[in-house]
């Protein structure tokens, strides 16, 4: 091959990626930078947005306890949702993995399919199931003797967590499922032949090996729940605000864009820090599994 061909080869990947790169710089990075800048602008009821550099919005978020409470609620809901999906999703993935081929792919489709069905439709389903004090869920739980008096689900954090856990569950099952695929079934048989009981096998053999899958699923579920919009907006109503619904209100109702931009920027930065930080922790802790 001549030198000209080598040179062309060196340029080829850049020529091929250049259009996409320009698109991403032009309509992703620039708008994101503009949003961060917007959070430092001033805003008034009558004067609108003033392009000056001011810390007013950040100061308001830092000092007004309303925002601390709202962010704490956002992350509390996300943490509970994550725990719920891990506690139910991990065993389900394990059970699924032990099924026969045809049943396995059928139920995998049933459980993962909802991932691609409109979040609005799925949340509407929960709103119908919750439906006031004599909703279907409460009737069922009461007739089963699980609860005595109806639990309020609509317009509460409980309802938000249940509906969000349903929306996020496929991500957890998928993540644990992927970890299970790397697991050698012979290890389980070896443990059994050495006299380990089912509890010991799950605790000492299965759990340590699927833990990375559970944790990476947890990161996905947590970050998606903390920034969820449709489910908190429909189940939580107008009063119970989380970060995403508050930012929506500031942008489209109050029209205080700079404050909304500050809330969004804070949410983005917090999530990036949490996700990158826990990813690094997991990779260090489970380095041998990822190798």
């Amino acid at each position: 091959m001549s030198m000209a061909a080598d040179e062309r080869n060196a340029r080829a990947p850049w020529a091929l990626t250049a259009p996409a790169l320009m698109l991403f710089v032009g309509v992703l990075l620039i708008p994101l930078a503009m949003t961060v800048m917007l959070s430092f602008h001033d805003w008034g009821q009558y004067k609108g947005i003033e392009p000056v550099f001011i810390l007013k919005n950040w100061h308001e978020i830092a000092t007004d306890p309303y925002y601390a409470e709202m962010f704490w609620r956002t992350f509390r809901i996300a943490i509970l949702t994550t725990l719920l999906t891990a506690l139910l999703g991990a065993p389900e993935a394990y059970i699924l993995n032990r099924m026969d081929g045809r049943w396995k792919s059928f139920f995998l489709l049933v459980i993962l399919g909802p991932l691609l069905i409109s979040v609005v439709a799925r949340t509407l389903g929960w709103a119908l199931l919750f439906g006031g004090n004599n909703g279907l869920v409460n009737k069922l739980l009461m007739s089963a003797g699980v609860i005595r008096s109806p639990i309020p689900f609509m317009f509460t954090e409980t309802g938000m967590v249940v509906a969000l856990a349903h929306v996020m569950m496929p991500f957890m099952v998928l993540s644990v499922w992927a970890a299970l695929q790397r697991l050698d079934p012979q290890i389980e048989n070896a443990a059994m032949s050495l006299g380990a009981g089912p509890v010991t096998i799950i605790r000492r053999i299965i759990m340590p090996q699927i833990m990375p899958g559970v944790l990476s699923g947890a990161i996905i579920v947590f970050s998606l729940s903390a920034s969820a919009f449709a489910t908190p907006a429909i189940i939580g109503g107008r009063r119970l605000k989380v970060a995403a619904t508050l930012a929506y209100d500031e942008f489209l109702n109050t029209l205080n864009w700079p404050l909304g931009a500050a809330v969004a920027t804070l949410l983005l930065v917090a999530l990036v820090l949490i996700v990158v930080g826990s990813n690094a922790l997991i990779e260090r802790r489970y380095a041998e599994v990822f190798r």
Binding site: P13, V27, T35, I111, A178, A233, L252
Partner: protein, 268 residues
């Protein structure tokens, strides 16, 4: 491997019922003959599907969503296919960084993207326009288009291409007659997955849509905010039907577990 015990199967049954219940209840209520929210205990009726016809804004929103999904997924592929070929075939400096950038819309909360695009397109004088929606949707569906194309390009047999080159094919002919047909299943699946993502997006679109460019999820969301009645369940049932059709096609064509697991993310 051990089999599932009875306890495991009971857990599994309850799990599956809970996963399916909200979707099933929406579809059932859609067929109610009553004028209020109820399960169709007195027979099935299509009255709420016929009622959709009296709400032209839902019909219009449906066409907006369909056009937006089809077009933005197509445009995303125009950018994603060359990028995927470059990332799959060449080892060059900045390759990992580029792949991370192209997949980043998956990581950025859609509410942040919605705000960023609202600010950007309003300053550019495109606020509330269909063009702005297309560009924004191209960005959010790009990772899905890229991932499946990348998986196809990585697993492709390059010897066929070499044979074509040795026979004198080059440049555009090589791409159109050899490379593209080989990666086509990945490209079409990428389009379908991108379409579903665009068709279902609410969080970002709700910031950008104006009356006239409202998509179906946005229209449904705004409607639900005011009141929940059987009409919105029949609209939801239609949305679920569209998605299920795309889903079944995707599963037959490519395998849903492969699509969802996103195998071969950056070809590493």
């Amino acid at each position: 491997m051990r089999r599932n015990g009875p306890l495991a199967l009971i857990f599994h049954t309850i799990f599956v019922i809970v996963m399916v219940a909200p979707i099933l209840v929406v579809c059932l209520v859609a067929f109610t003959p009553e004028g209020f929210l109820s399960l169709p205990t007195n027979g099935f009726s299509l009255r709420w599907f016929r009622t959709i016809g009296n709400y032209p804004e839902f019909i219009h929103a449906f066409w907006v969503s369909l056009g937006l999904g089809a077009l933005s997924s197509f445009v995303a592929l125009l950018f994603a296919v060359p990028a995927a070929l470059a990332i799959a075939r060449y080892r060059f400096r900045g390759r990992d960084a580029l792949a991370a950038l192209f997949l980043s819309p998956l990581m950025i909360p859609h509410v942040v993207l919605g705000i960023a695009f609202l600010r950007f397109f309003t300053s550019a004088g495109l606020g509330g326009s269909f063009a702005a929606l297309i560009i924004a949707h191209v960005i959010i569906v790009f990772p899905f288009a890229l991932r499946l194309t990348l998986a196809a390009a990585t697993g492709m047999d390059r010897t066929v291409e070499m044979a074509a080159v040795s026979l004198g094919a080059g440049g555009w002919t090589l791409f159109r007659r050899v490379t593209l047909p080989l990666i086509l299943p990945g490209v079409i699946s990428g389009w379908a997955l991108a379409f579903i993502q665009s068709f279902d997006d609410l969080t970002m679109t709700v910031f950008l849509a104006a009356p006239g460019t409202e998509t179906l999820p946005v229209r449904m969301f705004l409607y639900i905010q005011d009141n929940i009645d059987p009409l919105v369940t029949s609209v939801s049932a239609c949305v679920i039907a569209v998605t299920m059709t795309a889903l079944i096609l995707l599963d037959r064509f490519y395998g849903l577990d492969r699509v969802l697991a996103g195998k071969g993310d950056t070809g590493r």
